[in-house]
Structure formats: C-alpha cells, structure tokens
Symmetry: D3
Subunit: 229 residues, 6 copies
C-alpha cells in the first residue's frame, strides 16, 4: 500500500538546532560509531553543514512523483530523505522542487539517487547529498510512500529522526537517542578542543593518549636507519 503518514513526531527543533556546531564525524563517534550512510553519498557542493528532522520518502526507480507529495509533509527545519526501491541514478530532483522546499524552510535533501540543476542549487544555497549527478529526468506514474521507515544508503531511517550532513557525508541519529548523542557530542568536542590545543603546541598523541607502554607490550620495535636488523 502507498501511504503518507502525516505529522509524525520529530526530533524537537531546538534539539536539532543544537547540533549545528558538530560535524558528521563527531556525531558518528558520539553515538558509538553507528548510523553513518554509505560513503557514496556526497555533497553536490562543498561547505554545507545541516542538521534537522527527517521526512522520509520511499520512491520507485526513475519516478519522482512522490517528491511532490512529500513537499507538503515538510515543515521548517526538516531534511528530506529519499531512497528508491531499486538502485537508480536518475536525476529525481532539481531547482523547482528545491524552490518549493526552500519556501517551506526545509534545510536540504539526502537522496540515494541522482540530482540535477547543480549550478542553480549551489547558487540558491540549497544543499543536496546524493549518489550521483544526472540530468536524466523521471516519470510520474507510480506511487511510493512518505514518512515510513526507509533504508537509505545502508542505514535505517525513521521519520522524525535527526539527520546531520556535511562534507564528510551523512549520519542519522534515532530520535529517541538525539538528546544523549548531543551530550556526548558536546563532551567529545570539549575534550577534543583541549587535545587540539596541546597538539597545536607540539605535544604528541603518543604522550597525550599514553600509548607508548601498550605499543611496547604489543612488540613495537624502534630501530635507527642503517642499524642491523
């Protein structure tokens, strides 16, 4: 059955907003190295970083009809997350759909398929993470579903989950875990900030992280170049 679920619970807007300073790598670490989408999900232009609640779309191959349906389900701060039911690099998304999403305050798109109008999207500042760039168009013949759980680029995503995306890729944080992951991200970032200062000052990770003893135990051997083996 083709279904549109309306008004699913979303990760609260202020909670999502609090993720703004944190990159994908930090958030991924902060939730125990889970939730990272496949590395082929790349930004169409460098420098964007967004966090928001997922509106999910399951969509047939080479058919973007349901994206029009999904737009209506989006509210300010959302991120549209789209996965085709079979692999497809067709250009599902362009500047008209982006204009419509931007008008509703949507922060960006994550799509395991193709995107087009890249120059216009960069100019608009509407960021997209996609598997491909392709000008190839789609048809509007077959239904899909909106706001059901989907698997996108290898991760299970529920509507309302938190999505964070930047130049490193895309990570999903399950809605119930978002508050805890925010705490971990903050703690991790604070810890890293202090480490960064010490490393900048020339201290070595070997000493900061006290690695020398364990390395020796494992059998690491240092030998001066030219000395006998």
């Amino acid at each position: 059955m083709s279904l549109v679920i309306t008004d699913p619970p979303r990760v609260p807007a202020e909670l999502a907003a609090a993720f703004a300073p944190f990159g994908v790598a930090t958030v991924h670490e902060a939730q125990g190295r889970t939730g990272l989408l496949a590395a082929y999900m790349r930004p169409i232009y460098p420098g964007a970083r967004i966090a928001g609640a997922a509106v999910t779309v399951s969509i047939p191959p080479a058919d973007n009809w349901m994206l029009h349906v999904a737009v209506e389900q989006c509210t300010a701060g959302d991120i549209l997350v789209v996965a085709p039911t079979s692999p497809c690099d067709t250009g599902y998304f362009g500047d008209l759909l982006a204009t419509s999403l931007a008008a509703r305050g949507v922060r960006g798109l994550v799509i395991e398929a193709g995107c087009r109008d890249v120059a216009e999207l960069r100019e608009m500042g509407f960021p997209v993470w996609s598997k491909a760039v392709s000008a190839q168009g789609t048809v509007k013949e077959t239904l899909g579903s909106v706001n059901i759980p989907i698997i996108c680029a290898g991760q299970l995503i529920h509507p309302g989950d938190l999505i964070v995306a930047d130049d490193d890729g895309v990570v999903v944080v399950p809605r119930p875990a978002a508050a805890a992951v925010l705490e971990n991200s903050r703690a991790r970032e604070a810890n890293e900030a202090s480490k960064r200062e010490r490393l900048k000052a020339g201290e070595l990770g070997l000493d900061i992280y006290k690695m020398r003893e364990r390395l020796a135990e494992k059998g690491l051997v240092y030998r001066r170049h030219g000395d006998a083996g």
Copy 2:
C-alpha cells in the same frame, strides 16, 4: 581508413549562442529526454557552462596524436569532443593543447578519457568534461579520425552537432534539431519561471500541477501518525 573531414556543416554560431542561458537539464528535457552523455562525464572544475558546435575525434587508447590534427579543424565557438576506440583513462589533454584551442576560440573539451593539468586549466578558464583526471601521458604512434560520427559516453555525435555542458553533465543536440530544441527550451524555461515564482510563494506542486486527483485514483492513502492502519 584514418580520415579528417574538413569544414563539415556546423550548427550556426548564433543558434549555438542562443543556448547560453539554458542548462543541460533544460535542453535534455526540451528534446524529449534524449542525447544525455553518461553521468561519469564530469567537469574538472565547477561553474562552467558552454554551448557550441562539435568537432569530433575518434582516437586510439593512450595515444593523443590526433588531438594535434584536430586543433587545426577547430574554429571559434567549437567544442572538441573526443572518444577513444577502447576504454582508457589516460591523460590525453593538458594545458598546452588547451592554449592552442583557446587561441582559436574553442569553448571547451568533452573527452571520454583522462585530462591533466587541472589546476592550470582552471586558472586559464578552459573547461573540460572528462571521465577521469590522470597525469599519465600518451604516445603519438597511431592514427584516428576527425569529424566522423563518434559514440562518446553512450551518445552518437556527428560533427557540427550542438553540445551543451554544465555542472550537470553534457548533452548533444543533433544539428537539424537545434532550432526546434531552442524553441522548446525557451518555452520550457518560461513555463518554469512562472512555476518558480508560484513555488517560491509557497504554492504546492500538488496544486499547480493538479496532481491530487490522479494520486487518489492510483490509491494513495493519507493517515495521521498514530492512527490505526
């Protein structure tokens, strides 16, 4: 036989120039979704958009001799389009050939193989769409042909055909179709401009395109989150 066809008829310069405002996605749609080169043809730097007449080159693997022959066949406003006779990512093209082409007023290169001197080409503003970036050089031992029909990245291209290329990729418009495709591109763009305004103002595609009835007919079901299935 290795052949150079001189002075093939070209899409007229003013007609090619009239395509300047239109992107690859628009032109591709305007000619009925045909003519798009494979999505692995990517620009070596973002932001370029060109339109011009194709000078075609069929070239052996890892041998760029015929590119020197082809330069002489190019005139102002042309785009050089190159396909190897067997798949090859070697770096056939660099800044010297680009200097020579630029001196003749050539607008850019489309090559289903490798390109090098990317930093210099970006600095010169000479755009290239290629399958690969590779510093690996070529030999000059075997002939090929210039201005014969070629298949480049999955599309049949005749000398003199119109080529349009931007961040979305590359599309070919057969010379006889160019005038009609220009009309369609203009009509399409005009139509999209009015749609863009309405979408920007918050109207929904569902309403603008009158999709709701057909979606319902196909059986799309809306259900409020939490309501029974």
Copy 3:
C-alpha cells in the same frame, strides 16, 4: 615484525623545495612517465600543490594506531604517506592528527584509504590526497610499521622519497633520482613555456612539432565534407 625506522635519509629539503613550481604531470613526464599513483587518489579540496619527503606507514585495515606513532617520526617539510595492508576506505585521519602534523611542519597527507573532517582540513589548509572520504572511525588494536618501503596506490615508495601532489594526483620520485628529475622538470618547463607562447600566438602543434610528414606517411587522408569517399 612491527618496526619503526627512525631518521631515514630524506631527499634534501632545498631539493624538495625546488620542485614547488612543477606540477605532477610535469614531474611524471620528467622522470620518464613512471611513479604516478593510481588516479583514484584525489585531493579533498582543489588548489593545493605540495612537494616533500615521504614518511611511510604500513597500517592494518580500519586501525589508525600507527598514525600516532608516525607523527613523532615526521619533521618539517615531510609528507605522510599511508597504505593499508588490505583495501579499506575507513576514515583513518581527521583534524586532530592534522593539527599535530601541522605543528611539526608536515606539508600534507597521502593515504590510500579514507579521510574525514574535510571541512576542518580545508579551513586549516592541510591538504590530503585520499581514496575516499568517510566519517567512519578506526580502532587502535594492531601494529604496523613506519618508514619501511610500502606500495601505495600501485607505486613502490621508500621513506625519504620525494612526493609531489596537486590537482592531477600524486607522483613519487625515488630519492636518488630527485636531482636529475628536477633538472628534467626545469628543462621541460622551459621548453613548454616557449611552446606555450607560440601556441598562444596561434601557431599549430602540427607545425611546431613537425608532425605533418609523419602523419601523411602513416596514411592520414584529408577530405572536404561532401566530397566523394
């Protein structure tokens, strides 16, 4: 055995510095078209060009422990070169390690695996050439070796060899060959500069390189479009 070789001989700093004006394509040609790393080694941001002495690291899949060991072996002007013992796109390297390397004057990283914190690295101006971008983290369980000969992206690299990297990719010059390759690079560049001027002025490569006779001997045929075949 896991081994760290300390203080290997390096290509002299002033010699490495003299390579600064030359791109990868030039250096690759100047040493007889050898030493080019595989084309999948791409810069994480455009525009960087570096030359320096290799500190080599052989590292287990998905385990970046030895990078911390390697940092201590680096001195100003070095380039860290890392290859996993089996193929792996995990994100071994991020902004903390980069901060530590930058504090020691290291010029950049070449890694046949994944890199993360791309936005931060771009902001820091710490260039990386990698096979992938991935936020996926690594463990610290298994040893590797530092400053042993490694094969990285298809090339044999000894510690202390010269590495040159730019938008075209990465090339290695064996330490003993560096002085001669520098001479060749200079000669080549000088020769190209004069060619570039002539090409800019509209002379043809066909004439500059005196290709017409050999092309005719090989049987190249010119035919005016529309003339009988």
Copy 4:
C-alpha cells in the same frame, strides 16, 4: 554493548523448507517486490538454491572473531547472515568455518564482505553469497553482536527471518510474513506454469496479458519498414 541473543524465534523449519522450489525472483515478487539484497551479493559458485532462518551477525571491519561466536548459535536449517559495521571486502570466511557450520546443519552463508577457500567450499557444497572473493585474512580483536537486527546489503534483517538465495541473489522475508509469502509464491508459480505452457506453444504475451488495447491508448504506432513516417 556486544550482545549475543540466544534462541530467537525462527521461521518454522517446515515453513522454510516449503520455499525450496521457489527462486529469489518469485519470492521477491510474491512479497510485493521488497526485501531484495543489493545485486553485488553474488554466489561463489553457480547452481545453489537455499532457504532457511537467519542467524544474524554484526561484525567489525576486517575482524572475524564473532563468526566463531555465531557458530554456536546456529542450528540445523539456519543460514548465517553477516554484515560488517563499515564496508570491507576482507576474506572473513573459509573452509574451516564452513566445516563447523556444515557439522551443525547450516545451509549456507550470506556475507556483505569477502570469502575465501572458494575451491574447497565448492567441493564441500557449502554455498556462500558474498560481496567479494579475497584471500586476505582478518584479526580477532574486537567484539560484535549476534542475533540483533542488522542491515545487510541494503535490507533490514531480523534474526529468525526467512532467507532465500539462488543464482539471482538473496531475498529476506520477515518472519511474520513468511506464511503469506509462501501462499503468494505458490499462487504465482501456478499462474506462471500455465502461462509458460501457453508461451511455449507460441501464444504471445501481448494476447495472454491483453496488452494490445492499452498500448494503443498510450499511442504506440506500428509502421512497416520503408513506409513514410
């Protein structure tokens, strides 16, 4: 946390056995075209077809320790299903583990990573569907989990779900759906058998499926070769 869930409910053995005559394509259609694993999951030798209950394993990159843990959780008729937490083609599995699984009556392995000892496995008749063949070994340093829900090759798989695999690939049927999907598979197969006879006798699908009218409505035009367009 690293967790081994023991004795999860499984799709009943007789229900799984009833799937034996049906191929992956049939089962996939019979459950509404869902559940198909990515097409890169290929059998290591042709001709095997298996159906059974999934024992799931989430496993670190390049570390096969948990496979030994998983063996103990397997019972006769099971299929081991393994996904690494980050992409990895290392050879996790070979003939010793297969011997151990075969001794317990396990029907085969589905692994989104590498497999080795292919010749021995073919000789034993222990079928494997994997993403890669690689002799590269793994370490035993880091824990994972057994019988938790995993995402393998793009599909969510719960322990106890039904797995069907053949030369076409691998499909998962959620445990609660298995009985209904079996009915659909039977109905579909019966329907196809009658169609097969009619097609064999030379009847056309155009007539059997009554497609001609709808094709004409959509505007399909027949034209004899050589007639004017």
Copy 5:
C-alpha cells in the same frame, strides 16, 4: 514517438549462420576492431556462442513493457538487443519471456541492464549477455520503441545488423558489412590455424612475425642477469 518498425531487412539467415564457428575476438578483428560492446556485457553462464540478426528495443528505465511488444517482431534466428534510455540494472528479463522467445526460434538476448531467473535460463539453454543479474522486477507503464537504431553498451546497432556473442562479450557487424567481415573472418581464422600449428610446434612469434629487426631498431636491449647495466 513510440514506434514499432515491422519487417526491417535482416542480415540473411545463411550469412548469419556462417558466423557460427567464429568467436567475438575474431569477428572484431576481421572488421577492423570496431563494433565491440562494452566489456561489462557478460554472459550469465559460460560456454554459449551465438550469431544472428538484431531486433532492437529502446526501453525506459525499470519498465519492461516493450519487451512483450518486441517478442512479436522476432523471427527464427534473431537476437533481441535491448538498451534502456537511462542506466538501470533492474531485472527486465526472466524465464517466461525466454520461453516465448525460444518458442519463436530466437537465439538469445543482449541487454544493457539486469536479467533474472539465471538458473532457469541456464537450464533452458537460453543465453543472455547482460550488465547485471538482479531479481528486481519492473513496471509496465511507459512505451519505448522496437526496431529503431539504438546505442547499446557504447555501440550503434541498427535492426537487422549481425550480432555475435560468446564468452568474450558481444560484437555488432553492420548488415551491409556482414558478407565482407565473414570473408575476413575466414581468412583470419585460416591464417591463425597455420600460425597455431607452428606455435604449437615451438616456433616463436618473434620469428613467425619477423619482429626481431624492428624490436632492435626501436632499441630493445637484452642483458644477461647479473651482467653490468
């Protein structure tokens, strides 16, 4: 416009049949190294070799409706050749369509997309060359065309052209060239047969092809291992 061209001229049946002894590599050489389809077109099982006249199909992504239309256009000895209008690995073709084609005497299928029911097709002995194996099904919503010129896997194919396919891949011979290519194939094979005997007897290609002089001219140096360089 969606068009079915009926009764196009075909390469004569006895001419196609005469190609039976020749492999793809021979035919490809015999027509001057042109016409080879991309190397990703692989047989679904080893050992098949076919030659016949092309019935061509241009087909939308993930929609196999037109295959049913195409069946009616096939006659004994034909080979169905299918290319999607945008790249797609979906499983367009299975054992029912094969049964229908086999009933009409069709020799096999070449499809730049996915195929399923591989085990059944192998059992039936109906050979397929495809880009992918995938159980994923298609819809029947959008028209395409039959017996128009198509580009399949990088080659232009007209209806009625000769197709030869074996374990090495697929080659197309334009209909007007088939007789001449047959002669060349025979001559080439005869020549190779005599060479094969001499090579089998231990003569060297260096001598048979009289390569030694030209190698020496080009500067090839022989040096005994251990002698000074």
Copy 6:
C-alpha cells in the same frame, strides 16, 4: 630503457612444485599475510590452481608487443606476470599466445589487464587470472621490459619469485622466502587438517581455540531472547 633480462634466478622447480597442494589463502597466511594481489584479479574459469616462477613483463597501455618478446624468456614451469604502465583493460592475450606459452611448458598467465578467447583458453586448459575479459585488440608499437621488478595489482614482483594462483586470487612469495613459506604452509595445513576433523565432529572453534575467556574479558554478554536488557 627497454630491457630484457635473460636467465634470472628462479625459485627452484621442485620447490615451486611442492606448493601444488596449497591454496592461495594458505600460502598468504603462511607468509604473514603479505603478497596478495588485488581482489580484482580473477580467474577466467573456475577450478585452476597453479604454482611457478614469475617471468615479469612491464608493458605499455593497449600494446602487447612485449608479450611476444617475453615468450622466448619462458621455460617449463614458469608463470607469465604482466602489468601495464598505466591502467588498461584491453584484451592483450588470446589463444595464439597461449598456444605458444603452453608449447614451452608455461603454467599460466597473471595479467593486470584484459584477456580474450576465453572459451578457447578454457578448452585448452590454459588458466589466466586477469582484471578484465575484453575482445578489444592491441597494437605493436611501443617497447616495454621483461624480467625487471614490476608492481602488479598492488604487489611488487621480482622475476623468479614464486606465484601461486587459484579461485581465491593470486599471491606472490619472494624467491628467498619460498622455502620457509613452504614449511609454514605445510605446518599450517597439518594444523588445519586436525582442526578440520574436530570441527567436522561438531566441536566448536570457541573451545578448540579457547576463546571463551577472552571474549568474556572483552565484555561479551549472552542474553536469552525475550529476557530484559
């Protein structure tokens, strides 16, 4: 300089022969998990297993001239190992070269490029491990070298090194290490044979390898399905 080194020392024939019973995975483990060629090196037909001394060839892209030169350098028991100087999938090798090599007692070919005449090679029983199958032919214009050290599929190979290849891939054993690796392979195989018997009898790896304690130390938790977390 293009060089042919004649009569390099080879791993002794009887030593190479002694590797016959051991697979690639065993030999790779026995030499400390080094020497494995990239996993894209696949056999053109299943079931072959060979061991012998490498005759190495460095060869230009799409030019197989040096293979004819290399044949003369081969003696009974050798394996020809070929790497192009830049990546290339062209079909360098077919049944005529195989006939010539077989006449000299060569055991097989390892080539990081394309191979053709696959059906004939399978019939002859001449095994090839290649990166691609392609009927595309090569030219004979440019020299290369024979019996110099090469990098093939990511591994450094010296002439005379031991090569072992089977369905799992290809591994190189440096000549000086061959005797020791043979010992290790035998020991490993003996150890595995006893393990295999115990596993076959139903003993668990967990017990045979005494893993339970270390797993518990690392924190592995067992929980019965349905029990609280």
